[in-house]
């Protein structure tokens, strides 16, 4: 064992470049899959709230699958499984455009969409039906009542859960290591193999993850605070 020496990592420009690249890829995965998850969650939510019974049970099955299968297994199914049965033109294109990253984004995004749509749904369901009736009685149409009365309240109710799940999405981006995406924990492992300074590089990686998670948590707490009408800034 060599003595503890953080500068062996922090003072080495090559390792720092690898770390920076890892952080960048982690953020690309986290942000892209967050956007994918949120847009898909809205579509799922719209189907859930529309009257069709078939659409409803398809969404329920989608949510149930993604919540009951480990995220890691979902990623493995995407990358080791589905990737191999795609038509060769598509898989060639994917291989040329860093397939690991694309599958990490798609896998995590589809998985998280299930959580986000459930958060939003329970947020919307916690509003009493009187709100809709009152809005309609005041002359709002369905869309306008949704847009101006129900959705603002529903999103506000759902905010804490959405923030929690955004943090876990960020943390889950580390699972992409098993399909070889070059994100932060991958960079940490690589630097470990090069430098043999396991303790130092794990410490750096852990602190980085922790700092980013805490920033997301604090941002979420601030958003939740701001969205509360008692604090005056929402409207």
């Amino acid at each position: 064992m060599k003595g503890f020496d953080l500068t062996a990592i922090l003072g080495n420009p090559e390792y720092m470049a690898m770390l920076a690249h890892g952080i960048e890829m982690t953020f690309i995965i986290a942000i892209c899959s967050w956007l994918l998850a949120m847009s898909l969650a809205l579509v799922l939510l719209a189907i859930r709230f529309s009257p069709g019974r078939i659409g409803n049970s398809i969404v329920a099955a989608y949510v149930s699958y993604h919540r009951n299968v480990p995220t890691l297994v979902q990623l493995m199914l995407w990358y080791f499984g589905i990737f191999t049965i795609l038509p060769s033109a598509l898989s060639d294109w994917l291989t040329a455009h860093s397939a690991e990253m694309i599958f990490a984004i798609v896998g995590l995004g589809l998985c998280q969409a299930a959580y986000f749509s459930e958060d939003l749904r329970s947020g919307l369901r916690s509003i009493s039906p009187g709100q809709m009736e009152a809005a309609r009685a005041l002359g709002h149409g369905y869309i306008s009542a949704m847009r101006n009365v129900l959705i603002p309240q529903g999103v506000r109710n759902a905010l804490p859960a959405l923030v929690n799940h955004s943090v876990s999405l960020f943390k889950n981006s580390s699972l992409a290591i098993v399909i070889g995406a070059p994100e932060l924990s991958h960079a940490v492992k690589e630097i470990e193999n090069l430098s043999f300074r396991t303790f130092e590089i794990y410490l750096v990686g852990t602190v980085l993850y922790l700092v980013f998670s805490l920033i997301i948590m604090a941002g979420g707490a601030w958003l939740t605070w701001r969205a509360d009408p008692l604090n005056g800034a929402a409207r």
């Binding site: 890691l72 080791f80 191999t84 943390k171 699972l175 852990t206």
Partner: protein, 250 residues
């Protein structure tokens, strides 16, 4: 396609179920379940202690545990697995099997999560319970042991069951350090077959789905029972109109 899946299950079900057990270490689904159950059983008393420490009036107890809880919430489980893989053999000075490494990680990780659940359960009871128990002559530990914990833990059973489901899902991360669990068995099958990765990983996903789905369904049943029971206990012999009010109280 369906035919392939049935053929794979037919040939490899024993490997997926118990790994290479008689000739090697126990693995497969059995190991996944044992690992999750053991880590919950060990994490549970640990979590109660952590919850006490977080509720303590002494900063020396409160702060380290608060830090631990925030670290486990803010750092990916994968990083914690890598840490244990590095630290556990270093600290014990022995060649530790990956099963034990993963068990340690899960105990710390789920212990921190469970402690938050237990803390919430204790806080939700309100300070009146503690005050009343103390007034009746219980010491702090007596009050906790006979009054607070029985109620808090009973109300927390659904959350604990869902933590168990989460643990089953978290055991898959043992794959990174080669814990011989279900995921590991499936990737072994995949390495032997080589030609049908989609089918193999679909079987893997569906197996997890069936287990976690049934446990979640069980959780929902238990949760409904407990809600009903609590409503009944809160208002044993009153009129119906009062019962509906009582359900809204924590």
């Amino acid at each position: 396609m369906i035919h392939d899946i049935i053929a794979i299950i037919d040939e490899y079900w024993l490997l997926l179920l118990i790994g290479q057990y008689p000739n090697g270490p126990l693995g497969g689904l059995a190991n996944t379940l044992i690992l999750s159950a053991l880590s919950i059983v060990i994490a549970f008393p640990f979590a109660i202690l952590l919850a006490f420490a977080r509720l303590s009036k002494y900063r020396v107890l409160r702060w380290p545990v608060t830090v631990l809880v925030y670290v486990t919430r803010g750092v990916p489980l994968l990083m914690l697995v890598l840490w244990s893989y590095f630290l556990v053999p270093l600290l014990t000075g022995a060649d530790v099997p990956s099963f034990l490494t993963m068990l340690t990680t899960l105990v710390v990780y789920q212990g921190a999560f469970l402690s938050e659940i237990i803390r919430a359960g204790i806080v939700a009871l309100g300070p009146g319970q503690m005050d009343a128990a103390r007034a009746l002559g219980h010491g702090w530990f007596g009050a906790m042991r006979y009054v607070i914990l029985p109620q808090a833990l009973y109300n927390m059973i659904p959350s604990m069951l869902s933590t168990f489901v989460a643990t089953i899902k978290d055991t898959t991360l043992g794959y990174v350090i080669n814990v011989p669990d279900l995921t590991f068995a499936a990737s072994q099958v995949n390495n032997q077959l080589l030609t049908q990765p989609f089918q193999v990983f679909l079987i893997l996903a569906l197996t997890y789905y069936v287990i976690c789905w049934s446990l979640t369904a069980l959780t929902n049943v238990v949760e409904r029972r407990i809600t009903r029971r609590r409503a009944g206990l809160a208002a044993p012999r009153r009129q119906l109109s009062l019962i509906t009010n009582a359900t809204e109280q924590p």
